[in-house]
Symmetry: C2
Subunit: 449 residues, 2 copies
């Protein structure tokens, strides 16, 4: 697993690694569909105008241009041209555009999952690729979206993550209303500025954040101290409410945020015990969130960064006077799978889908062997047929090299036998009825013991 | 289905349309895995040098450049710079690169399927998008690859297409050795030039192709006549062999090609009757094929163009002296799905994955409703919970609007009932055991009657 990508930041998996990724994707899809989320995909490409709609973004965007441009234009992408094309850097901005464009065809609240690649031209490092797969779920309402969906979506994600072969995890949840109301309540009116500073807490530490708050936002020692004290609150139950109250700040928005976060944590304590914490340091940088905000760490792998983030956004999508508030979370599939693979946290029961190789008795028996294979496939048994009637020993070696557990033999009298090449056991078998053990039928991905 | 993409050439499906696409993708994956093909994905991006490695290509390529380039370089992609990045235009060229890079980790003959988006900056038209999904299968050998895999791969594709909800189809198969040997045998040595001209047959007609052969390749009337006569041969069985022999041309390569094509057609007559024809007009343009070549049409939709193409390539991938010959076919998923949708060839049994909406008796019953939902999901029944305890009529209307067939009610005494809102039938039900009919459990995609 120590292979490095031939193009830095663009990881590619070997077939046996891809089996792990497929297992993760299939598991997510199954969980999302069981909760009534519809699949959609959006095009990989947005206009630069759409991507930069929310003003300055901190993502590095890849622009597109046609190499063979027959209009004789210079082959370039132009940041200044809002109609130029660029690759999307997340799935939320394209989804918001999709909802607005297709509002007349969607039934709201619209629940969708979306599993696609996204691209960011950032400097590649552990856990950060230039091309990576995200798996998003969002629920979007028409005009309004009950807060209960914030609770639901956190529970769905906790369930999805629990179904994956990954280490223990924690959803760290905060609420923008709580934070912004608190800052307002202590007299810091540039709440976005405070959030931006608090967001740097893990990176630069409390002392430097306090300096920033004082130098850039004009905070007093006391204000900076209170803002930092809020960010230290972290509880596994709803006791954060009392801890915030004890700081003595009064504000309506703060009350609203406290109430919302309390609902999320209360439900999580009951339905996803031990998986969720209220963490009042979570800020989510420059993004478009307006209420609930979430980050997720793998326990023991905290330095990997968040493997699932998102939150509530009330103003991302609108069409004239019509607003489409939403709440969503995004799993960093590539980041997760990279870690699973590099730490060898799982193993696959075999490296190919094939369960059976039908050996050839003679070169003329290929068509008869295909008939046997078709019967096996009809029962869901993945089967290959040998291409050449080499000596049986060679055909067995071929299966072994490909990782195929069973070899099927048919002699000139039409007698069938199947050999488990791991144990060497060879038994009579009928192509119309023989089936391998359940555990050998499909590739199984299990947590490494 | 008359919606047009908001960005020309970049189609996006509505959730109910995506269900059709998912069904197609799932069916292909299942067939491919049953035949022992492993999944891989390659990065969306190749270097320009890699993409143009085979010299001039007729595909329009999208170059990439970072909009926020911090080295102060001009934000442009440069055709002249072989290290510049560009989006792949097919999956065969990236696959060849992947095989060479990972040869030490793969077991040959390596069988893989690959389902991904590709991009071409061509003028969009019916059946031709700028972003589209391809589903490829290839088998690649190390040094040599028995011809039998050419036969097998055609049969796998025929089986995969037969499993799809699409109109009848025909694989039209030819062989480059046959054609090139024939041209050589009649004294036309620029065989690639002849192929390029013959490739235009459907577009410009026989008279103009004859003119091209004479003016550009110096063919005599007789040579042009014979080359065109070869291209008229089309048989559903192996009788093409006698028809070619009757033209009286002798050449070793021709013999080899005739023998190969005969093997493919013979196996297809037996194992995929009526689905395959020998069509000696098939040329496959500028591509890298060296033997078997395949195009596929939907019967009655011939003007849509080929929905599945490919063939044998002996020289696409090499590493020093080591060669990796391959054979592969590529299904144009987006082209197929566009046609299925625009002609309404299939229908989905419902528009969302959800089978059951658990209604709320009161706002406090949300958590209890989640317990019921969890029980149903545990048996694979996709379930949503209402967000608000509105009047039951409103909750039923909500389910109806979303396309959910069943609504679950629990009264204050804990008595459960489930209503099929299509028939109005309402019955007592136990959350621990109730299951909808098989046909209501999942969304089913069926051919429109």
């Amino acid at each position: 697993m120590a292979r490095t990508a031939s193009l830095s930041g663009f990881p590619e998996w070997l077939p046996q690694e891809r089996l792990v990724e497929l297992h993760v994707l299939d598991t997510l899809r199954k969980t999302f569909e069981l909760h009534g989320f519809s699949s959609i995909e959006t095009r990989a490409v947005e206009t630069v105008g759409q991507l930069l709609r929310k003003g300055e973004i901190d993502k590095e965007v890849y622009g597109l241009s046609r190499l063979q441009d027959d209009e004789g234009e210079a082959a370039k992408s132009d940041k200044a041209d809002p109609n130029a094309l660029a690759l999307h850097f997340d799935l939320t901005v394209p989804f918001a555009r999709y909802v607005v464009e297709n509002a007349g065809y969607l039934a709201f609240p619209f629940r969708r999952y979306q599993i696609q690649k996204v691209w960011r031209g950032e400097r590649p490092q552990e856990g950060r690729a230039r091309e990576f797969t995200q798996a998003d779920i969002d629920i979007v309402g028409d005009g309004e979206l009950p807060f209960r969906y914030d609770v639901e979506i956190a529970l769905v994600i906790a369930e999805a993550l629990r179904a994956l072969p990954i280490p223990d995890f924690r959803l760290r949840i905060n609420n923008r209303k709580l934070a912004e109301g608190f800052y307002r309540g202590i007299g810091l009116t540039d709440t976005a500025g405070v959030l931006r500073s608090i967001d740097k807490l893990e990176k630069i530490g409390a002392a430097k954040v306090a300096e920033l708050l004082k130098s850039e936002l004009g905070a007093t020692d006391e204000q900076a101290g209170l803002a930092l004290e809020l960010a230290t609150i972290r509880t596994e139950d709803t006791s954060f409410v009392d801890q915030v109250r004890a700081l003595g700040v009064k504000d309506d928005l703060l009350d609203e945020g406290l109430n919302e976060l309390e609902q999320v944590i209360q439900a999580a304590v009951q339905r996803a015990p031990g998986k969720v914490v209220a963490d009042l340091s979570i800020a989510r940088g420059l993004d478009y969130y307006t209420g609930t905000v979430v980050e997720t760490v793998l326990v023991g792998h905290e330095q990997l960064g968040s493997i699932c983030s998102g939150g509530r956004y009330d103003a991302l999508a609108s069409k004239g006077n019509r607003r489409f508030p939403g709440v969503g979370l995004s799993i960093g599939v590539t980041r997760l799978v990279s870690r699973i693979l590099s730490q060898e946290l799982v193993k696959a029961s075999r490296s190919v889908p094939t369960a059976v190789l039908v050996a050839l008795n003679s070169d003329d028996s290929w068509s008869a062997a295909q008939d046997i294979a078709a019967q096996l496939r009809g029962r869901g048994i993945a089967t290959e047929v040998a291409a050449k009637a080499e000596k049986f020993g060679k055909q067995i070696k071929f299966a072994d090299r490909r990782g195929i557990p069973f070899v099927w033999f048919t002699d000139d009298d039409g007698k069938h036998q199947v050999k488990d090449i791991r144990s060497g056991e060879q038994i009579d078998a009928d192509p119309a009825s023989w089936t391998p053990d359940e555990e050998d039928l499909y590739v199984r991905i299990t947590t490494a013991g």
